[in-house]
Amino acid sequence: MEWETVIGLEVHVQLSTRSKLFSGSATKFGAEPNTQANVYDLALPGTLPVLNKEALKMAIKFGVAIGAEIGKRSVFDRKNYFYPDLPKGYQISQLDFPIVGKGSLAVTLDDGSEKVIGVTRAHMEEDAGKSLHKDYQGMSGIDLNRAGTPLLEIVSEPDILSAREAVAYLKKLHSIIRYLDISDAIMAQGSMRCDANVSIRAKGETELSTRTEIKNINSFRFVEKAINHEVQRQKDVIEDGGRIVQETRLYDADKDETRSMRSKEVANDYRYFPEPDLLPIVIDDAYIADIRSQLPELPDAKIARFCDEYGLSEYDAGVLASTREMADYFEAVATASGDAKLAANWVTGELQGLLNKHSWEVADSPIQADRLATLIARIKDDTISGKIAKTVFETMLDDSSDVDAIIESKGLKQVTDNSAIEKIVDDVIASNPDQVLQYKDGKVQLIGYLVGQAMKLSQGKANPGQVNALLKEKMQ
């Protein structure tokens, strides 16, 4: 039987506000346990929530960026359940009236085609604390630093048909969120978390079948692996005559498998009801328009502009626009060097290689945009060759002095003096008589070999154009 996979993703993004969703406590990652929990976060009697306006603004920003409807009247609800790291015994979330309604995201698939994936909704809610199960003599510790951190839960439509599509969707989401600067969105740190709802059905079937929810997926790579694993598991179950049970399954990256966590068939009844401590949020059109006017250029628009303005290929533009920081870096180099294509080559080539090698972000690069631009300018004005430039680039990693000073002090300046080049060319002709003869007999492609010999002799410093011209002239 031929199967079709149906996937919907629920992505939780920690909004990067300075304080929590309903209290003034800080939200910094990695602080000592319970140092970022005030009387509200501890759910002391008599304390009340006050909405963080910054979180609201970030949520609306996201909604506007994906072309979604913004809830003009948005309501918080209490989701009731007992857990030690949930201090109030309920989570303040949004059920019927989320801040962000229907929107969509266009993603590029592996075959280069574009697919629009629906976003059902996105709502604000507070994060829980953490239970710590080690080192407490058989007891559990509770850290409430994270309790109350604002989350935006973004729910997709079940439009995603493969693990690869899921990754493409997630990456697009990640890119937009980073562009909007509303979250660090680091999966490994949990500031972006993904739960995947996965089901399979016979190809051609239109009804959705029973799904499982996979939790604990903390990297893009694991999203793909976890979904593929789960799809295979479901196929095996059904083909063995079994039945898929609606349940939550935990992904174990070490074993690359999912295992049952709890069955949703005996689901918790969360007894949602409107949060009486908070008034409904009423948003007017002017506020939305104001946020819209402040939106940064988003990835799709940037890619289009890079192709158009700098004549880049869609692929290169895509790589350069993958993060806002990378795009800004590229544009700075392109502008300062005066050669966008060369800038694109260097940024996607040498620089990207360097960053990958060290797992650095653009901001970590020891070579700032202005220095790379100078280096490129020196290639353009024939001070150095492209090949020598790579040597200079290596030197620049540890040497923060001026690019020109490095070229000068290492004697890497290109030789453009005709008499010096003539001497080298003469030497090459003299020491390669066979090749010269063959060239003269019409095997003109040997010019490359001879230029190479000359460059080698000059330790790369001779201007290759001049060498080429002079060789041709002398061998006529």
């Binding site: 008599g46 304390t47 009731n80 109030k88 007894r271 009801f273």
Partner: protein
Amino acid sequence: MIEKTVAELSAALGSGDISSVELTQIFLDRIATHNAELNAFITVCDEAALKQAQAADAARANGDSDALLGIPMAHKDIFCTQGVTTTCGSRMLQNFVSPYDATVVERFNAAGTVTLGKTNMDEFAMGSSNETSFFGPVRNPWDTARVPGGSSGGSAAAVSAGLCAMATGTDTGGSIRQPAAFCGITGFKPSYGRVSRWGMIAFASSLDQAGPLCKSAEDASLMLNVMAGLDEKDSTSIDRTTEDYTATLGDSLQGLKIGIPKQHFAESLSADVEQGIRDALSEYERLGATLREIDLPNNHLSVSAYYVVAPAEASANLSRYDGVRYGYRCEDPVDLEDMYKRSRSEGFGDEVKRRIMVGTYALSAGFYDAYYRKAQKIRRLIKNDFNAAFEEVDIIIGPTSPHTAFELGAKSDPVAMYLEDIYTIAVNLAGLPAISVPAGMVNGLPIGMHMVGNDFAEAKVLNVAHQFQQQTDWHRQRPAAFTEEG
């Protein structure tokens, strides 16, 4: 001194007739003598009170003359008080010492009042007789075999018996007004949102409102001047300029249109109470007011709607008492579930558990529409009834309670107890301001008259109550066993 109103005590302090330290000592002595009998206080703050009194006297010597400077008062034990045990009448919080002050407490402190202690109350404010307190029932100073009403029974009894000059209370379905009626004092519930709920332990968030318990409408105005106002820590507090509530107390009632809801003079009302209220209404006619019967057609639904909405909110509000971070935790739990179950089973009393169960049920999947959603619809109907009434009249007057204070143990059936608040509950559902003032005596027990104003018409309600108190002396009557000599 203990028979004086706050306004009178303020004058005595201002003229130097007495110092705050002296006055505080008088009340502390009263508490020491009478609290064992009344059980009105859970905690008494002797030392801290005298320190506050000294500070008040020093401030006065430096020229400070705030109206409430140096006045000894009590706070219902539902308000968080920094460094002082805050129990909410429950075993669950028997040892809870709050690290912060409620906004109401903070404002009184800033006004220079003296906190004598924390008053007894029904557990988590759930009750109409003060019998659900973990710390034992409060006795009515008029007859100690009787209840003081609830849930602010400790505050009402303490004011009535002269154990404090004034007290704070909270009112979710009548918890200020009904005990004020039973104890023969003045109790005022402001409009929802008028007074901050920050630091006031939540029972039913959309209904809870703090207010004064005191000897007169004038005193209530002085207290409300301190309590009212926007608080950024409470998102439901109202951003409205608050007036000086004493400024309009003297306004004439000539031409005032009083609405008499026919539903409040129905079969369950005792004849004696009805007569008392009718007499009081005649007083208003003498003051130039006109009376007209009004209809509140959905009033009979208010108790039912309330007993869905309030328990539903309470079921969530009380989830935080889980034994994890503070409050009561059972001995030697075997696991997490055992800790939750036993801490809550042992830490809460029967009435609290009953309401948590009712509320949990009302919110459960499959029942939400039939209960919670329907109750919210009824709430809107009740609000519409009031809106229609206030098109016709300026104020609505009736009895606070169908009868006078009953004996301890007389209402063992929970539903009978719930019907105690039949005249007061609709006001909370509609968020309106309402006051109870003494309006007569039946067999040595006070009758309470209930006056309801339109949204944020606190000043009007206080004016109407004050004018009555200018003509009558029901609010001056004190229980014989607790007079100055008593």
